[in-house]
Every structure is written in structure tokens, then in C-alpha cells.
Amino acid sequence: MSGNLAQAYAPLLIHLLVALGLSAILLILSSLIGQHRPTREKMQPYECGITPVGDAREPFDVKFYLVAMVFILFDVEAVFLYPWAYVFRELRWFGFTEMLLYILILLAGYVYLWKKGALDWNPSKTQRDRQT
């Protein structure tokens, strides 16, 4: 069994090494034949021509975290559907009803998120008022 696994996955390892190797070779080649004339201005981060203001690692909008959290919820649930789809034929009605229940629970959570405004990037004025 382990031999079969190695045979199935070794090509992937080879492909990974070849892909990494090509990118590395190209990078090294470009650093060898490319020119290097660093100046102080050139090494600054780009800010449309003006001197950069402050450090870029500032706190950012909490909405991005919210999106990430919602993503994890829904993507994990999507991945749960894959094994179900795989055995759908054998599970017959049992599988169908079970998944219907599962998706309905998922939809209930989704509707809750929607009503709470978690899916709105720019909450409308009324929603902002309601939240405060």
C-alpha cells in the first residue's frame, strides 16, 4: 500500500522540485545579468512620488477578519460536501435527506449572518444606525 502511495505522489514531488528549480534558476539568472545601481530614492517604497508617510504596517479594517472567519465556516462546510458527493449514489434517500438537513442548517446560519449585516461590505445608513 505504501508503495502505491509513493508511486502516486512521487510525481507531484518531482513536479514541485522542477517548478521550484525553474523559478530559482530564473531568479538567479536575473540577479547575475541584471544591473544593480541602488540609490537612496530607489530603495524607498513607492508612494506616488512623495516621501512615504509613516510605516505601512498599520492596523487595518476589521472587516477583513470577518470575511476570513465567514470564509472558514463556509469553506469547511463546502469541503464536507465532497465526501457526500462521492458516496451519493450508494447512500440513496438517506444521504439526500441528511444533506438536505445539513444544508438547511447551513442556510439558517447564512441568513443569520446576512441579517446581522456581516456580509455587507458597506452597511447602509439604516443598518449603521441600528448597530449603534
Partner: protein, 440 residues
């Protein structure tokens, strides 16, 4: 000897694919510029080589010679590694896709799961690169990009479930074989799933009209603002490889993979002659245009391209002419399969370009709303609709057509409802908004 033999072919395929990808990406860029020029009634690149055919090579050489700048405040190690992550993840995803029945690096029984997992890793390259640059534009671009990729990943993943239900396997080869067995490509059985995947795959490859992460007019160049020279080229390569990957996934899942149109109908066997004739036509055009090129080098290059097309014609025509049962005739499935697969991938990428030059860019909140409030619920309902249709067909022995059409109609009804509520949300009737705010 037996220990090494099984790995020879994969190594060969890996080398060929990895070596061809940069070239392929370069030529997709050229085709994109040509298509754009055509749609805007211009000529596009014409100077480097006949009809700009050597432009990608010139670009690659230029990028190699460019100065490679790392900003002084950047995190050097992460800055160095981020493009490598992106490009490797994109290339690795190609390993599990069958380009024709014979050309496949690894036929995994969890192929599709592997492709989805690995291609999601590319997000790391983008986020790390944007963060490491230590520039405001890069950070904003990276965050937007991550939020966008993550949002559409969900609907793409759910859209795929529909095709999985039909195939009952995660192996990419098995999915194509299932389409071959029923004779119906899954796009005709699961059109809603294909539509969701099409939209989601455009957003996942950061292309217009969803090219928010690199919106030039807002964020300079998004997460790659600080990248220059060949590091930038690696991001570029990753982006175009990702395009090829999503096009290949869509081809495998919905468009019948390496199958010829009407593969099971002997009446349409004349379609087998289409690939060599197409190549012959391109060759003829090259030979016809060659004397009209202004420079001798361009004439020679045009003839060389023509000869290449003649060689491809021979490769495609020989298995057809060879006597049945010979080795040459049995190679027909592989060669023609590869042709049809690449043809469909090219058509899918052409649709990408077409959409890019037709639609204006979305606003970021519109993009998030389309993703979370339309595509995600639609794809969830689509899974239910497909499940219902298949359960009726398989368990209650309904004929396939009415059962599946019932599922599709229910899904579309849900989609129409979503559209209607979304419309009301975006354009509230006059007075409605005011009333509620007075109440609050």
C-alpha cells in the same frame, strides 16, 4: 530498473510542462494584447517579429536584464520567497490535470481536492508579498486580494460539488470518463454550476471586471507595487498559470476534458479531420503572408512558424491515416485528446479576455456583495437542486431530463429571488430609506 521506470514519464512531463509554461504565458499575453487591439480597432504589437510574434521573447529578455529592487524597509526573506510560493503553487496544480488521456503527471484518486487545496496556497504568496513590501499600496492590494480570493473560493468549491455529484469520483480522469460514458458534458447537465464556476474563476484569477487587487487607478499595482524585474515576472507567470489552471479545471469538470464534441456519435466522426485541417490552414496563412513581411528575418520567422504548423498537421493527421491496430493509430486518442483539451482551455481563456474588454470594473463592495449575497447562496441551492434531480432520477427512476430540469428550474427560481432582493437592497424605493431612518 523497475524501481525507476514508473518515474521516467512523470519527470519528462513535469519538465515539459514547467519549461513550456513561461512561453505559453508569454504568448497568452501577446494574444490578449492582440485581442484587445482588435476589439479597440487597433493593430496591437507589430514591430518585434511578424505580427509581434517575437514580442514575448523580447519581453522575457528585458525582464531578465531589469534591475531587481528590494525596498530598504522590506522584510527581505519574505519578499524573496513570496513570488516563489505563488508560482510554485500555481504550477503544482497543473500536475493532477489530464491533458488528454495519456499526458498526466499524477492521476490521484483525490485529484480535484488536491488541485483546490494547492491552488488556494497561492493566496499566501500574494498576502506575504504585499505585507513584506512595507508599502501602503501593497498592503491594501494584498488584503483586498485575499478577501476577494477567499470569497469566491467558497462559491467555486460549492459549484464543483454539482459536477462531483454527477461523476461520483474526485479523480480528474474519472470525471472525464464519466462524461464520456453518459455522452453528456456536465455543462449541459449542470449549467448553473458552470455559470457560477465561470464567474468565480474570473474573480479568483484577479481579472477584469474583478481586478480590484490591481486596480491601477486606485492602488497603482496592488500587491506587486514594489516588485520589479524578474520577481514581478514570477507573479505575472503565477497569474497566467492560474488562468490556465482554472480553465483546465472548468474544461475537465464541465466541458468534457479531452473528449471531442459528439465523441460517442459515429455520424460526427468527420470532426476528427478538423484539427489537422485547422493546423494546415494556419500553415497556409503563414506561407501566404511570409513574402509580404517587410524584413528578411521576419519572412524567415513566418516560414518557420508555417513549418511548425505543418509538423503539427502531420502529427495530428498521421494517426488518422495509419492502418487500424498499428501503434501510430492507437496514439490518436492521446494526440487528438491533447488537441481538444488545449482547444477548450484556449476557448475558455478567450472568454476571459472577451469579458475583460467588455465590462467595466466592479466596485469593491459590489464585488463582495456579488460573491457573498448572490453566488454563495446560489451555489448552495444549486447543490440541493442537483441532489434532488439526481435522487429523483436514480431512486424513483424518473427519466433523467425532467428530473434534472426540475432541479435547475428550482435553482434558477432561487437565483431570481436573490436578484430581486439584492436589487431592492441596492436601490430602495424613494421614501423607504427615509422612513426607516426616522423610525430608528
Amino acid at each position: 530498473m523497475n524501481v525507476i521506470m514508473p518515474y521516467v514519464l512523470p519527470v519528462l512531463f513535469a519538465l515539459v510542462i514547467v519549461a513550456l509554461l513561461p512561453l505559453l504565458a508569454g504568448y497568452i499575453v501577446l494574444v490578449e494584447r492582440k485581442v484587445m487591439a482588435d476589439m479597440q480597432v487597433r493593430l496591437g504589437p507589430m514591430r518585434v517579429g511578424p505580427h509581434g510574434l517575437l514580442q514575448p521573447i523580447a519581453d522575457a529578455v528585458k525582464l531578465l536584464l531589469k534591475e531587481d529592487i528590494i525596498p530598504e524597509n522590506a522584510d527581505r526573506l519574505v519578499f524573496w520567497g513570496a513570488p516563489l510560493i505563488s508560482v510554485t503553487a500555481a504550477m503544482l496544480a497543473l500536475a493532477a490535470l489530464p491533458i488528454g488521456p495519456f499526458f498526466q503527471i499524477a492521476d490521484l484518486n483525490i485529484g480535484l481536492l488536491f488541485i483546490l487545496g494547492v491552488s488556494s496556497l497561492g493566496i499566501f504568496g500574494i498576502v506575504l508579498g504585499g505585507w513584506a513590501s512595507n508599502s501602503h499600496y501593497s498592503l491594501l492590494g494584498a488584503l483586498r486580494s485575499a478577501a476577494q480570493l477567499v470569497s469566491y473560493e467558497t462559491s467555486a468549491g460549492l459549484a464543483i460539488v454539482g459536477a462531483l455529484l454527477l461523476a461520483g469520483t474526485l479523480s480528474t480522469r474519472g470525471i472525464v470518463q464519466a462524461q464520456s460514458a453518459t455522452g453528456w458534458w456536465f455543462i449541459f447537465v449542470a449549467p448553473v454550476g458552470f455559470f457560477i464556476y465561470l464567474v468565480a474563476s474570473i474573480a479568483e484569477t484577479n481579472r477584469a471586471p474583478f481586478d480590484m487587487p490591481e486596480a491601477e487607478s486606485e492602488l497603482v499595482a496592488g500587491y506587486m507595487t514594489e516588485y520589479s524585474g524578474f520577481r514581478w515576472a514570477l507573479y505575472f507567470l503565477a497569474e497566467y498559470t492560474n488562468m490556465i489552471v482554472v480553465a483546465s479545471i472548468a474544461t475537465t469538470l464541465f466541458l468534457g476534458g479531452w473528449l471531442r464534441p459528439f465523441a460517442n456519435t459515429p455520424l460526427f466522426n468527420f470532426l476528427d479531420y478538423l484539427p489537422p485541417l485547422l493546423m494546415l490552414g494556419v500553415a497556409g496563412y503563414c506561407f501566404w503572408r511570409a513574402p509580404k513581411q517587410p524584413v528578411a528575418v521576419q519572412k524567415m520567422f513566418m516560414v518557420a512558424v508555417g513549418l511548425l504548423c505543418i509538423a503539427l498537421t502531420l502529427a495530428l493527421a498521421m494517426p488518422l491515416a495509419a492502418p487500424a491496430g498499428s501503434l501510430l493509430a492507437s496514439s490518436k486518442a492521446g494526440i487528438h485528446g491533447a488537441f481538444w483539451f488545449l482547444f477548450k482551455v484556449a476557448a475558455y481563456i478567450y472568454v476571459f479576455m472577451w469579458l475583460r474588454f467588455t465590462f467595466p470594473r466592479y466596485r469593491f463592495d459590489q464585488l463582495m456583495r456579488l460573491g457573498w449575497q448572490f453566488l454563495v447562496p446560489l451555489s448552495i441551492v444549486n447543490v440541493m437542486g442537483m441532489g434532488l434531480g439526481l435522487a429523483l432520477h436514480r431512486q424513483l427512476n424518473w427519466p433523467a431530463a425532467p428530473a434534472l430540469i426540475l432541479g435547475i428550474v428550482l435553482t434558477l427560481a432561487a437565483g431570481a429571488y436573490l436578484l430581486a432582493t439584492g436589487e431592492k437592497h441596492e436601490h430602495p424605493r424613494v421614501g423607504e430609506e427615509e422612513e426607516t431612518s426616522v423610525d430608528a
